[in-house]
């Protein structure tokens, strides 16, 4: 069941086309990863979906209907850059934002209590926001986004700034919401997270969709020709080997895709034969990671061909 369908939206600012014909769909109970480098047009796309700014062209439908006040009340939003009213108390802040989503004060109080308890923030109930740590403020912002139980939740880099324990908690809650049928748009440039969470992705670059579809499908489209090697030694020569496209290289780990013309065994032979004498710990041929796909697609667009490099 499609919750949001965006078709061919465009937005032009003075001389820059921020969004140039983006189309996407999010279904109920689905997490869509909205991916792309900085300045790709993710935020503008999100703002248009949220009706903060209007597209110059194209249509955005919610359950098949155009934007309306009830739709607005069914949306939750966590922006990337965050802040709160520092001088206000936690509970007043929550009640205010809930009232803007059309929730009654009594109902808001009840839900605020539950969520604050779950996020371990009950002690701050009547305290000023400025007394909260940064991480705790972030949890509050997430509470503001989900308190009214939205049917569409838009999250922009929700994990940034959270410690591992709270990351687990956030993931848990996202899974619950997903199970309840919430459609979630998850914008990030941390590919690992997207890969773990998303059902589908939409990768944007320079205002255009580069690739989109269910995660598995996207990965299949990029073949199984991704090679991951774990090793000890100086692996810098790997990038120079023939048939290698797009590379993510860490100190002891490299991932790249391989030209189909070059067989994996041939590659392995040339790695072993190289004078750098790498100590191979693991050699794997698998589906490419989202990270590699991202770097190949975006990197190719940046340099007009050869992608890859350090992360």
């Amino acid at each position: 069941m499609t919750m949001v369908s965006v078709s061919d939206i465009r937005k032009q600012y003075a001389t820059v086309t921020a969004v140039d014909g983006v189309s996407l769909e999010v279904r109920r109970g689905e997490i869509l990863g909205l991916l792309g480098p900085n300045g790709a047009g993710k935020s503008t796309t999100i703002r248009m979906i949220l009706n903060i700014i209007r597209p110059d062209a194209g249509a955005i439908l919610f359950d098949g209907k155009p934007f309306s006040p009830p739709v607005q009340n069914a949306i939750g939003y966590l922006p990337e850059e965050r802040g709160l009213y520092r001088k206000s108390t936690l509970i007043n802040t929550i009640l205010y934002f809930a009232s803007l989503r059309g929730l009654s004060a009594a109902e808001s109080r009840r839900r605020a209590y539950d969520l604050l308890k779950r996020f371990d923030l009950l002690t701050y109930y009547n305290r000023k926001v400025e007394e909260l740590s940064k991480g705790n403020q972030q949890k509050v912002q997430f509470i503001l986004a989900i308190l009214h139980e939205p049917s569409l939740l838009v999250l922009d880099e929700p994990y940034s700034g959270l410690d591992p324990l709270n990351q687990v908690l956030l993931t848990e809650i996202l899974m619950e919401l997903k199970k309840k049928g919430t459609a979630i748009i998850f914008s990030t440039h941390v590919m690992d997270q997207a890969e773990k969470l998303c059902d589908a992705i939409c990768l944007i670059n320079k205002g255009k969709v580069v690739v989109q579809g269910p995660l598995g499908e996207v990965k299949n489209r990029f073949g199984t020709q991704a090679v991951r090697i774990e090793y000890e030694g100086d692996g810098s020569f790997l990038a120079e080997l023939p048939g290698i496209r797009g590379m993510v290289r860490y100190e002891n780990y490299s991932e790249f895709s391989l030209d189909p013309a070059m067989g994996t065994s041939q590659l392995l032979r040339s790695v072993l034969a190289h004078p750098a004498k790498l100590e191979i710990r693991k050699f794997e041929v698998a589906q490419p990671s989202l990270n590699l796909i991202f770097i190949q697609l975006v990197g190719a667009a940046e340099s007009g061909g050869k992608g890859g490099g350090h992360e």
Binding site: R47, N51, I52, K87, A145
Partner: protein, 415 residues
């Protein structure tokens, strides 16, 4: 609950607790009262020490009777004379030598000043007064008045009138001032009372516009810099947000005014000064409210595009200057409340409220002028709100450089 009401309620309840508001609530009337009352109190405070005034009196006939007149008229609270005349002897080199001696005493602050009754002062009508401080208004008023009376009496004596006749002829006169607002309606009123009614309403509007205007700009700036504005705009429309803010802050302004009004009524009841008539107060309030809305629109339009504290500060400074124009013109308005210039200025919407408030308190303008200026002001306020709404919608998400005028016009057009 409508969303703009939710915004208004929030702005009102949060800002009413803010320090800026509490300060303006209590400090403003304190400063205003201080500005009026302290100089008045200082000026009316009696002297505590006798002031010595020299007199160069070659005839030797003046200092005795004049000194007695001064002593009789002005006493210190402890019963001692307020002014003491001291004769400066005339040395062999004549008046110039006496003046030199007097100047020395004046510069040593042994004397407040010195009169010179040289020559035929009765016929020449010239008496000289030398002092290092001619700004002591009370001294000059009291002493000069006594000297004038003394000279007048001596002229009359010289014409052969007797002293009782002279007293009869020179008895003081009481001037009653009546304010006529329309034929048949008179009330006792002095310049100060008239002036201060207008002044107080004008001040009230200034403080209202400046404090709440500043709070408005600050609140937009805060939401911009902490990015709350994005969440707000995803939950309500830009119009809801803008009108909510204006409603909330108007409520704040009304609270402030109500507080001051109660304080003012209590104070005037205690001091026994009459309150201005109700229709006049209502008319003034109408100008204040419409003027406030116009300025609120301007604050939104100018405040929404800025993203730094300095830029915000600049805006309030500009607007303050515009607000102060009528203050500079206050005395010209008082002198000619119906002059062409005053009439023209009354129809410039930004100046209308303060100009009209001033004029109403001095001389009621014609009903046509009142109606015309109110309608024009109301139209401008509504138009300003519309423009402000457009600018607000398009620029509230901006951060960084403040857009220039041309860019702003483009935004408004492109909406």
């Amino acid at each position: 609950m409508n969303k703009y009401l939710a915004v208004g309620r929030w702005e009102y309840l949060e800002k009413i607790k803010s320090k800026a508001f509490l300060i303006s609530l209590f400090l403003t009337p304190a400063i205003m009262a201080g500005m009026i009352l302290i100089p008045a109190a200082l000026a009316s405070r009696p002297d505590t020490e006798t002031k010595v005034i020299g007199i160069i009196d070659p005839s030797g006939k003046v200092h005795g009777p004049l000194g007695k007149m001064l002593e009789d008229r002005y006493k210190l609270p402890n019963g001692q004379p307020n002014y003491l005349l001291r004769e400066i002897p005339v040395p062999s080199d004549g008046i110039p030598g006496a003046k030199a001696a007097a100047d020395t005493l004046i510069s040593m602050e042994a004397m407040a000043g010195c009169f010179v009754f040289a020559g035929d002062y009765l016929n020449d009508s010239i008496v000289e007064y030398r002092s290092s401080n001619l700004g002591d208004i009370r001294l000059t008023e009291q002493v000069f008045e006594t000297v004038r009376d003394y000279v007048r009496q001596n002229r009359l004596l010289a014409k052969g009138l007797d002293t009782s006749m002279i007293r009869e002829l020179t008895r003081p006169l009481t001037l009653r001032t009546m304010k006529v607002s329309r034929p048949g309606a008179e009330e006792e009123s002095g310049f100060n009372q008239v002036f201060f009614t207008g002044y107080i309403f004008m001040m009230m509007m200034f403080v209202l516009v400046l404090t709440t205007g500043q709070i408005l700009v600050r609140s937009m700036l805060e939401e911009k810099s902490n990015r709350v504005v994005e969440v707000l705009l995803s939950s309500c429309s830009a119009n809801d947000l803008m009108f909510g803010k204006i409603i909330g802050l108007s409520g704040l302004g009304l609270t402030q005014m109500a507080f001051w009004a109660v304080a003012g009524v209590l104070l005037s009841a205690k001091m026994g000064t009459p309150l201005p008539p109700a229709p006049m107060v209502l008319l003034n309030l109408l100008y204040v409210v419409l003027g406030y809305l116009l300025y609120a629109g301007i604050f939104v339009a100018m405040g929404a595009p800025v993203s730094t504290e300095q830029d915000a500060q600049q805006i309030t400074t500009y607007l303050m200057l515009v607000l102060f124009v009528p203050i500079f013109l206050m005395f010209s308005i008082a002198q000619a409340p119906n002059s062409g210039l005053v009439r023209i200025l009354s129809f410039i919407p930004l100046l209308t409220p303060s100009m009209m408030i001033m004029r109403i308190s001095i001389l009621m303008p014609t009903p046509a002028e009142i109606a015309g200026s109110l309608i024009l002001l109301a139209i401008s306020a509504v138009a300003m709100m519309k423009v402000a709404g457009k600018i607000f919608r398009t620029t509230i998400l901006f951060t960084g450089k403040r857009p220039n005028m041309r860019e702003l016009v483009q935004f408004i057009r492109s909406e």
